[in-house]
């Protein structure tokens, strides 16, 4: 079924158009992004059940203006009913706020560079996503009941289970973008589920983590149910996991870890606001080889159907499908609108905000390595001593110095071309991006996408996105 559009956004569309019209008398460019995103998060544990609105919920607006030299923004979320009938007073307040901001900027002991004016092509369109089971259409009792049964089943599966969190979260994202030339509206749903068991045997305590996500509704709980048994099996195996001997190894990255590598290496590394700041090493490598010829990497809101998908970004630019690395050669980066203006290039539809309250940056959407032709069996058979890295907890980028860090939950030992059954946990993978990508020697044929994580810029500005890839064989340092 179609995801319903926001009735709130429909109700404020005309007043916002009028607001843009009024402010356009003072500013050469005016745009407004308004959001109305709702959803719930349910968490079932052994002795506690919680329900709360998702922390991704938001309803508010951000206005961007160009004052002939620079872009200024103002975020707000109070809009009196009177304002909707007579938008002039609100326009006056906003005008005064921008005047104050410009005055403050003028007193700063810094230069204010003159930026070009945003030029948009006219477009007016509305998009609605599809969903299997609309979460709000099902009684909450059923949803909580299914999650509770998962929790109970988990305790039946292992005597070592101390606690488990079964978490399900769904969001309906609705956005409206209005400028002098554009009127865009979209509504879509994503959902994510987590199974986080904690197991203890004597003094050993381990936490397992499994997740799933997609542009889905309640049907995602089917995937959680299907994954429980394997999650618990691995959780029990983790109780016997050992520490790895730090060294460089031949490794196979699972599609999840490949996604982490894509994200931290050439995802963050090609966000083009970093090019503007001179923070991206990749800027020196446009058109040059940065990886093995087997490596291809794409990013784009329309490049895959996952939690990083949308029709237009938070600056009113249509979502794209960008070929970042082609046969090992760095082709282009991903850009927000203002960075593109400064660099004299076309934006790629990667301008994203944490919420209406925050600035737009160049951000990843769905980022993934493209498929190869090898099989996992052949890849495993080709390794004398190494590891299959399966699940991660977090990662960190270093776009200037091309380092990557990944916190890996567990890896499986490979000896003489076979998995030995031995697990190591936890461990770190790290490396120098061109060496890791340059060492890629085998790539499997099937690409998988994962969208349960979130991505920060540095340590803030969290947004939803997805990452993935095929199985990839390379060399990395593990410790």
């Amino acid at each position: 079924m179609n995801v319903p559009l926001s009735t709130y956004l429909a109700g404020i569309k005309q007043p916002l158009e009028r607001l843009v019209e009024i402010l356009a008398k003072d500013f050469p460019y005016v745009s407004i992004l308004s959001t109305d995103s709702t959803g719930m998060r349910y968490s079932v544990r052994k002795r506690a059940v919680d329900a709360r609105q998702s922390s991704w919920c938001e309803r508010g607006s951000v206005i961007r203006v160009f004052d002939g030299r620079r872009y200024l923004e103002y975020s707000f979320n109070e809009l009196e009913e009177d304002s909707l009938n007579d938008i002039e007073p609100l326009a006056g307040t906003i005008r005064e706020r921008f005047r104050k901001s410009a005055a403050v900027g003028g007193k700063l002991p810094f230069a204010v560079p003159e930026l070009p004016l945003i030029c948009e092509q006219p477009l007016s369109e509305t998009w609605q996503g599809k969903v299997g089971i609309l979460p709000e259409a099902v009684p909450v009792e059923q949803t909580i009941g299914r999650l509770s049964r998962l929790k109970d089943r988990a305790f039946e599966l292992s005597e070592h289970l101390v606690e488990i969190e079964v978490r399900f979260e769904h969001m309906r994202v609705s956005k409206l973008f209005v400028s002098g030339k554009r009127e865009l509206e979209q509504s879509y749903i994503w959902a994510q589920g987590y199974l986080i068991p904690v197991l203890r045997r004597d003094e050993t305590i381990r936490e397992m983590f499994a997740s799933c996500a997609g542009l889905k509704g309640l049907e995602l709980i089917d995937e959680m149910e299907a994954g429980l048994s394997e999650t618990m099996t691995i959780g029990v195996q983790l109780l016997d996991a050992e520490r790895i001997e730090p060294d460089e190894y031949e490794v196979i990255l699972s599609p999840k870890i490949a996604g982490l590598l894509a994200h931290e290496s050439f995802g963050h590394g090609v966000e083009m606001d970093m090019f503007v700041k001179g923070r991206a090493k990749a800027a020196e490598y446009l058109g040059k080889a940065v990886a093995s010829p087997m490596v291809g990497l794409r990013d784009g809101a329309r490049a895959a159907e996952q939690t990083g998908s949308f029709w237009f970004d938070d600056e009113g630019v249509l979502g794209g499908d960008t070929l970042v690395i082609e046969e090992g050669v760095f082709r282009t980066g991903i850009s927000d609108l203002i960075s593109a203006l400064r660099l004299g290039i076309s934006p790629t539809g990667n301008g994203k905000r944490e919420s209406f309250e925050r600035k737009a940056y160049s951000r990843m959407t769905n980022t993934f390595f493209t498929a190869g032709t090898d099989s996992l069996e052949d890849m495993t058979a080709s390794i004398e001593y190494g590891y299959l890295l399966e699940e991660y907890l977090s990662g960190m980028e270093d776009p200037k110095n091309w380092g990557i860090q990944g916190q890996i939950l567990y890896a499986r030992e490979i000896r003489d071309g076979k998995l030995t059954g031995k697990l190591v946990s936890p461990l770190f993978m790290f490396g120098y991006v061109p060496e890791v990508l340059g060492s890629v020697s085998m790539v499997s044929a099937e690409v998988q996408q994962f969208g349960s994580g979130m991505c920060g810029k540095g340590h803030k500005e969290y947004v939803k996105n997805s990452s993935g890839g095929p199985y990839i064989k390379t060399r990395m340092r593990l410790g």
């Binding site: 719930m40 506690a48 059940v49 919680d50 329900a51 709360r52 609105q53 919920c57 508010g60 620079r70 200024l72 923004e73 103002y74 975020s75 707000f76 979320n77 109070e78 104050k100 901001s101 403050v104 900027g105 700063l108 002991p109 810094f110 909450v140 009792e141 909580i144 101390v162 606690e163 904690v198 003094e203 305590i205 936490e207 730090p246 060294d247 460089e248 700041k277 001179g278 923070r279 090493k281 203002i338 600035k359 977090s394 960190m396 270093d398 200037k400 091309w402 916190q407 936890p426 461990l427 770190f428 790290f430 490396g431 120098y432 060496e435 340590h459 803030k460 340092r477 593990l478 410790g479």
Partner: protein
């Protein structure tokens, strides 16, 4: 007005057993700088209202309290709020949580100390803050690549259905600062061109050469120009050292001194272990009166407390999010767990006095000076890519962006790349804290912690 309307609406809802409202008005100013140019200025004026509805019910003689937390956006009309409340109450009756009380009104609440930012309008602080930051350029060869400066004034009010009504004003400052250095590689190489480490092996992850940068974030709630200047100068100096750093040697197991930002994260393990919620859920087995640091402590013993007010900490508050009046609470004394800490709900479940959810942590200084801790060969890590402590298992580690290696001959030199990893339960019998202290967002305690013989993976290939 909005809160009054909401209270009136809630009063007419039949199945509601109790409710709580947290109302925050946030005014913010943001300045984005690249080198010495203004990238963008932003401001915001937003209101976040969180409503918790509680529904009590009984099953098989047991009393339960289900609760649902929702955000009531200021633009919600009465019909939307009513529908939201009804949906939430419907959900609440399926949340079988043991009953617990709301915070009673009447407790004496300490006054929130006034921030120096209260003296002027927010926007007028951007210039002195930015000037203080950029005035430090020149103290080292490194310079500032970019800075993002956020300053917010937050008015919080917490109201509940049994008459609690508390308010306070706080300030929150945040700086993201990127320092960069053009590099001074010994062999004139550039990043990524395969420099040789001192042992002649090929350099891997992060071995510095050419241009480097260092990322830092700072949180604050006061205009303390001296402290801000000192933090920026340190970062510029460290960035210069990273540019000159060699590859971290493969030390296998080696004493590691962690300093600065990772120290509060490290102690976070003990907060999780002593939290009433962790004990209630069974993931912590810590017992009051027993050692939380293991049986045979040969190093420094941990003393940890929670403080509602810590100077320059945005986490300072007179009450927690339930409106519970906060007081200083000693949690660990000389390695022995004194009490569980936590919000009213989980302390009530355990039958222990609540401390409330307090945002600031203090750890008592240790027995040795920094110089004393540096006497033996060690690796002193001052910057990680992202130091991670798993508060449940005690696993910790991270990739090294800058460390100082003191070798067996007593020579100290900057190194980069590689990683450290270990488990707190393995190191806690023999860890030492510095006598010198530091103040970070929400933390006051030792500047450094010396960990015995943990795994150090080098940046050089074998």
């Amino acid at each position: 007005m909005m809160i009054k309307r909401l209270q009136e609406l809630l009063a007419g809802v039949p199945d509601i057993s109790a409710w709580k409202i947290i109302d925050r008005r946030i005014q913010g100013q943001e300045l984005y700088l690249t080198h010495r140019e203004v990238d963008m200025q932003r401001s915001k004026d937003v209101r976040r209202i969180f409503l918790t509805v509680y529904r009590d019910f009984q099953e098989e003689g047991k009393k339960y309290r289900g609760s649902v937390v929702v955000q009531v956006h200021p633009t919600y009309c009465a019909g939307e709020i009513r529908a939201l409340v009804e949906r939430s109450l419907d959900s609440a009756r399926y949340l079988r949580n043991r009953h617990y009380p709301l915070v009673q009104p009447g407790s004496e609440t300490a006054a929130m100390p006034e921030s120096s930012f209260a003296a002027r309008p927010l926007e007028e602080w951007l210039s002195p803050l930015a000037e203080t930051i950029y005035a430090q350029e020149g103290a080292a060869e490194a310079r500032i690549n970019s800075a993002e400066l956020f300053l917010s004034r937050i008015d919080t009010r917490i109201v509940n259905s049994i008459g609690l009504d508390v308010s306070y004003r706080s300030y929150s400052g945040y700086l993201e600062l990127i320092a960069e250095d053009g590099g001074k590689a010994e062999d004139g190489g550039k990043a990524g061109d395969g420099r040789k480490a001192e042992n002649g092996r090929k350099v891997h992850a992060g071995a510095a050469a050419g241009e480097v940068e260092l990322y830092r974030e700072l949180s604050f709630s006061e205009f303390e120009s001296g402290l801000l200047a000192s933090e920026v100068r340190d970062q510029l100096r460290y960035c210069g050292d990273r540019a000159a750093a060699g590859a971290t040697p493969h030390l296998k197991r080696f004493p590691v001194l962690i300093t600065g930002d990772p120290v509060p994260d490290f102690f976070g393990y003990y907060l999780t272990q002593s939290a009433a919620e962790s004990v209630y859920s069974g993931i912590s087995t810590a017992k009051v009166g027993e050692s939380i640091q293991g049986d045979e402590v040969r190093g420094d013993r941990l003393t940890l407390a929670l403080e509602p007010f810590l100077k320059n900490s945005p986490a300072s508050a007179p009450v927690d999010t339930d409106g519970f009046a906060l007081r200083t609470a000693g949690v660990v004394d000389a390695g022995r767990l004194e009490r569980y800490w936590g919000p009213l709900r989980f302390c009530h479940y355990l039958g222990v006095p609540p401390t409330g959810a307090i945002g600031n942590v203090t750890v008592s200084p240790g027995s040795k000076s920094l110089e004393g801790l540096r006497q033996e060969p060690h690796l002193e890590v001052v910057y990680f890519s992202d130091f991670i402590t798993e508060p449940l298992t005690g696993d910790f580690g991270g990739e090294i962006r800058l460390a100082y290696y003191t070798d067996p001959d007593g020579r100290r030199r900057p190194v980069t790349g590689g990683s450290v990893s270990g488990n707190i339960r393995d190191v806690q019998p023999q860890m030492y804290f510095s006598r010198e202290t530091q103040s970070r967002a929400g933390f006051r305690g030792p500047r450094a912690v010396l960990l015995p013989q943990i795994s150090v993976s080098g940046a050089a290939a074998t």
